[in-house]
């Protein structure tokens, strides 16, 4: 019998610690597949965030480092500038990337660092129990918006992809999601392209992955994916937001 599918080499055997129904596991796998397919595992250095994906270094089977909360783009800059031959990516959640790390995100993008950023947007702080994130939707109930996010009180969801598209330093930005198989396939294509860009020296690539967080959203996994499709994507529409590499 021939083996036609197996776990990517870029993933370790460790069981994931993510909640049941969480999107991180899918996104990890897509990254691992892309890294394998491009044959770059042995020269990849990943920067893990503070947040749910802080444990990424237990799952990825290549070199990884931790970074203080919000600082992965700065850490990645330090790595890439001194190791231009390595493939460097950050994996960050919405609190890490769009709240405490906003300055690092914008300036790393504006410098056009030749790195790849995987931005997991699940509209809340998952690790700490579901507080409001910069990307929390209007009206969304979280641990710290018990009456729903009110723009007069909490402002509006930050659309980081659109924000970064305005910067000349960014080369490729796409928003994808992973709630069903066709979208997972599209997400894989985008992630692989974002790494391919770095291999080719095209510059800064940014993939925003709209992900589901059933436990902190207080939903079943099925309700969560339905909410992504019917509500979440209305505020964060999918598609290529910028591509200057064509």
């Amino acid at each position: 019998m021939n083996k036609i599918l197996s776990k990517p080499e870029s993933l370790k055997d460790n069981p994931l610690s993510y909640c049941p129904g969480c999107g991180h596991g899918i996104i990890h796998r897509l990254i691992a597949e892309a890294v394998d397919e491009l044959g770059i595992r042995e020269k990849t250095i990943a920067v893990a965030p503070v947040g749910c994906a802080v444990f990424a270094y237990d799952y990825f089977n290549f070199d990884t480092t931790e970074a203080p909360h919000g600082r992965p783009p700065a850490v990645a800059t330090g790595i890439k500038r001194t190791n231009p031959d390595k493939i460097v990516f950050t994996y960050q959640g919405d609190g890490d990337l769009a709240a405490i790390g906003t300055a690092e995100t914008i300036h790393c993008a504006n410098r056009g660092e030749n790195i790849t950023v995987i931005f997991v947007n699940n509209a809340n702080y998952g690790m700490t129990g579901g507080q409001m994130a910069p990307t929390t939707l209007i009206g969304q109930v979280t641990e710290t918006t018990p009456f729903g996010r009110d723009p007069l009180r909490e402002g509006y969801p930050v659309k980081v992809s659109e924000l970064l598209a305005n910067l000349e330093g960014t080369k490729y930005i796409e928003r994808v999601t992973v709630f069903d198989a066709p979208h997972v396939i599209q997400a894989k294509k985008a992630i692989k392209k974002a790494f391919q860009n770095q291999v080719e020296g095209n510059g800064y690539s940014f993939i925003e992955v709209i992900s589901h967080c059933p436990v902190d959203w207080g939903k079943t996994p099925l309700e969560a994916v339905k909410w992504v499709e019917e509500v979440f994507l209305k505020t964060f529409p999918l598609g290529v937001i910028k591509d200057t590499t064509k």
């Binding site: 250095i45 990884t64 480092t65 700065a74 190791n83």
Partner: protein
């Protein structure tokens, strides 16, 4: 080689370059602006990395990233900027990432002023960031030492996998002095078996400070303490100046040690046996050197450009055997050699 007249801040840059610096990351703040300006030219010309970061936080974290890959990187700043870098310093200590951080101190607290100061002693040697850790802290007192100690600090940081801080002050940074650039350019470096350089032909590595499993973080802290103990044993340094017969021993570092030395010469000319122990490392503090000279008949005097920080460590070292007095000024005020001499005279009475 003939000596060259340069500012302390430039001597510092040359020391880092001779040590094989791969990357400099900085942010403008007075009185250390010569450093990023000089490095922006040198590093780019040498084909090495230079980034003017968006913030002090980012600059420090760029150092963290570069040094995690085994490269030599540094950042420099002054007091308010160093406060912002404490986050990365705590992580680097926890993750055991070497790196060199320079503080050309200015007056504080808050935005303070841009005059020379020594008010960041506590921050540098007692922690600064969160957690149970130590930086290795050097206190150069002249341009020559800005060059030599910077040169050496990269080796020491890597030897112990621990961040090194150079605690300078605005005066030593800004003053021009002749410097003998006597160090050889470093080109070969010890292989680092821990760094992130891609997992070709080996198991992947990860560098982290998050240790959640039961007891693991405590063990990590115990291991760090063992390392700190080794550093205490190996690296404490002090310059002794006329201490053998001294009845009054000044303890002073950085620019105030230069001022104190003049006062000691004047005191000796007046028949007063004064001397000085100058800590070259502030952490580890040269406790043993001080202890050795602590006798009931000897009076100690800590001279600092702040209102009394190092004096606490002098008291701990002396441990009640000698009296310990203090002289200092704050907010950019400079203690004069006359002030120090008057204090010596007063102690002599």
């Amino acid at each position: 080689m003939a000596k060259k007249l340069v500012k302390g801040n430039i001597a510092l840059c040359e020391g880092a370059l001779a040590a094989g610096l791969d990357a400099y990351f900085g942010y403008p703040i007075t009185p250390q602006n010569e450093v990023p300006a000089y490095m922006s030219n040198k590093m780019v010309s040498l084909g090495k990395a230079f980034v003017q970061a968006e913030s002090e936080l980012a600059a420090a974290n760029m150092v963290l990233g570069a040094c995690a890959t085994g490269k030599r990187a540094m950042t420099s700043s002054s007091s308010p900027g160093i406060s912002l870098k404490q986050e990365a310093l705590s992580y680097m200590a926890g993750m055991e990432i070497p790196g060199v951080i320079v503080n050309v101190q200015r007056g504080g607290p808050g935005l303070g002023n841009i005059a020379g100061s020594q008010a960041d002693y506590f921050q540098a040697v007692k922690g600064g960031g969160h957690g149970d850790y130590h930086l290795i802290v050097f206190a150069p007192n002249c341009a020559q030492e800005m060059y030599e100690i910077t040169y050496e600090s990269f080796d020491i940081a890597e030897k112990y996998r621990n961040p090194v801080m150079l605690l300078c002050d605005g005066i030593v940074g800004q003053m021009m002095e002749p410097v003998d650039f006597n160090k050889e350019q470093k080109t070969s470096f010890a292989k680092k078996e821990w760094c992130l350089d891609g997992c070709k032909g080996r198991e992947p590595r990860s560098i982290k400070s998050l240790l959640m499993a039961d007891g693991v973080l405590e063990q990590h802290n115990l291991d760090l303490q063992k390392k700190y103990e080794l550093i205490r044993k190996n690296e404490a340094r002090a310059e002794l100046y006329q201490v053998e017969d001294a009845e009054i021993i000044i303890v002073s570092y950085g620019i105030s040690s230069r001022i104190s030395k003049n006062a000691i010469k004047a005191a000796r000319a007046n028949g007063i046996k004064a001397g000085m122990i100058r800590p070259v490392t502030l952490w580890p503090f040269p406790t043993e050197a001080i202890k050795k000279y602590a006798k009931p008949a000897v009076k100690f005097l800590s001279v600092e450009l702040c209102l009394g920080q190092m004096v606490e460590d002098v008291r701990l070292a002396v441990n009640g055997v000698s009296s310990v007095d203090f002289l200092g000024r704050a907010g950019g005020g400079i203690v004069s050699d006359k002030d120090v001499l008057n204090k010596i005279m007063e102690l002599k009475k």
